[in-house]
Symmetry: C2
Amino acid sequence: MSIMPLRMAEIVSKATIRDVARTAGVSVGSVSRALNGGKNVSVRVARDVAAAAEKLGYQPDFQARSLRTRTTGMVGCLVSDVANPLYASIVQAAEARLREAGLLMVVANTANDPARERAMVAAFRGRRLDGMLVAPGSDENDRAWRELAAGGAPVVILDRDVPHEEDRPWPAVLVDHREGARTATRYLIGLGHRRIALLTPGARMRPGRERIAGFKAAFAEADIDPTGALVCLQESSMDFAQGDALALLRRSQRPTAIIALGTRILAGALRAARDLGLSVPRDLSVISVGDTDLAAVHTPAITALRWSLEDVGRAAAELLLQRLRGTGEGQSRALLPVDLVLRESCVPPTAK
Amino acid sequence: MSIMPLRMAEIVSKATIRDVARTAGVSVGSVSRALNGGKNVSVRVARDVAAAAEKLGYQPDFQARSLRTRTTGMVGCLVSDVANPLYASIVQAAEARLREAGLLMVVANTANDPARERAMVAAFRGRRLDGMLVAPGSDENDRAWRELAAGGAPVVILDRDVPHEEDRPWPAVLVDHREGARTATRYLIGLGHRRIALLTPGARMRPGRERIAGFKAAFAEADIDPTGALVCLQESSMDFAQGDALALLRRSQRPTAIIALGTRILAGALRAARDLGLSVPRDLSVISVGDTDLAAVHTPAITALRWSLEDVGRAAAELLLQRLRGTGEGQSRALLPVDLVLRESCVPPTAK
DNA sequence: TTGAAAGCGCTAACAT
DNA sequence: ATGTTAGCGCTTTCAA
């Protein structure tokens, strides 16, 4: 078709360290030293090398360097789905911190598929990534985690409990979902609620397990009849949630309050309430686990449990950087707090 | 917890291709051939090599391979913010397609900062990534795009107009925002609306520009007084949007319909309407540009313009793969459609 | 302080 | 079909 100025082709031609050496009139070794450590280089050489590099538009080849140094300047990030706002924010924050440190981040989605998890762990190993941030789709995938450990590269786990060797827990960033759920439940109990439903996508992973534990703990410590504590497991799809919520709210002894985990379940619950003509909060108090746009903007605004996804990502990156630098084996696990954001969706249950 | 065998340390020791060769009793060349092409290898050698590789737990070193083949099996993805649901879904879909093809994806957030864009383009080049998916934060960053072109690696642009050389437009995946906005506006005009406000975060980038153009086109073709077409530029923060929307709705001649771009602006507009006691859709019709959870779940459900972010990501990956394989310079630009999802938030304006 | 040279692990050209 | 060998671009001893 059309012709592109040929200058471009020249620019493309990559100058190597040898070219720089020749241009500067020194040896490749000197160029390497000048460009890197700066140790044992005379000012004259430093100047000439810098000039030559500039002139040639020299850009070192990380691939080649990696082969020698055995570091790639890249870390992997393995999550089930970066499109999930939960992970998206974590990934974003982690990338920001890693970039500051000069590292690139490789992401891969596993869709919670164990086979894919293993494949990606292998791919990361093969690429010799310097480290990994991992949020397993399930805590059981022994083969993958063994591979992971065998890789030798530092790993930080994101809000999961992965089986580990005796007294050698994985470095991890955890969120205190248990305490969060307990606070929320305690709050509802304090308002006078006795029949409270916890709608959760499952107890397969740490967050769900911890929340259920916190939920039950609140009932236990209040020393009230725990039969009102309804734990409802369900798929996280909105339609499912809506159906389940409908069934739940149609019961003769329907709950007076709902704790909904995640945007889609919250949406399903709100729709179900609407469909049944139940008014929030008059007929039904609602707490969202996770402070999403929907919770904040809904009318009435929904009281929500909130924790900082940015902090999770940043802390994970920080932990990983620590390991990569080998500085202080110190703190290897972080536990982040969860807050209850009070809004308009919770009131005492109407006498009945 | 569980106990993991200590043999782990042994597994870490990485076997090289030489080890495999020695174990299999063949030359390194044969091993390479056996493991890769499979061309010119006897069954015996193939078998022995496979056995040896298996036995040693051999994993080829991509770094070293890259140095020879000049390909890294990785592509870069440059967006302003992966935590933005818009980009998150695109990234997700693109990664899925690329992984199928055996490629890893490196992501970087630019926060729309031109300096960072340049830095990341340079970093990607230095790492010799095979290709790049890029959504520039602004169309003007000439130096970065020149660098990009000079890199020689295939690039696909995501929904942006990046200046290009004469008749050599960048390969790109574009969304037909113009037609979408036109359809939405036409729909409102058809319902009888004459004062319609378009709340947009700006015209700096292609999507905003195209939408404004479509909006205006609808008025032009309807041959009605275009003074009712209110284009309101604003920051995309919700608070700003809410303030601006408030001011807008307080006007004596307030618009009877609003087209809101993005979740945050939609949220701001809905809040503003609520604060003023305006009922949607009775007092104010609303169309959301972008079909978010909020739009779908809100009561009343918000009519929305929708396009497939997954398609954007997938198409971009596909285009890039085409280039990487050098197969068919064929189609290098894709234009994706936008649909209007009719819901409950638009009715004819009440006579006044 | 500098240069020469030996690889890092792999692929591909060449020779057999 | 197989083995041998020369690098890919860089870092890093080791001498000088």
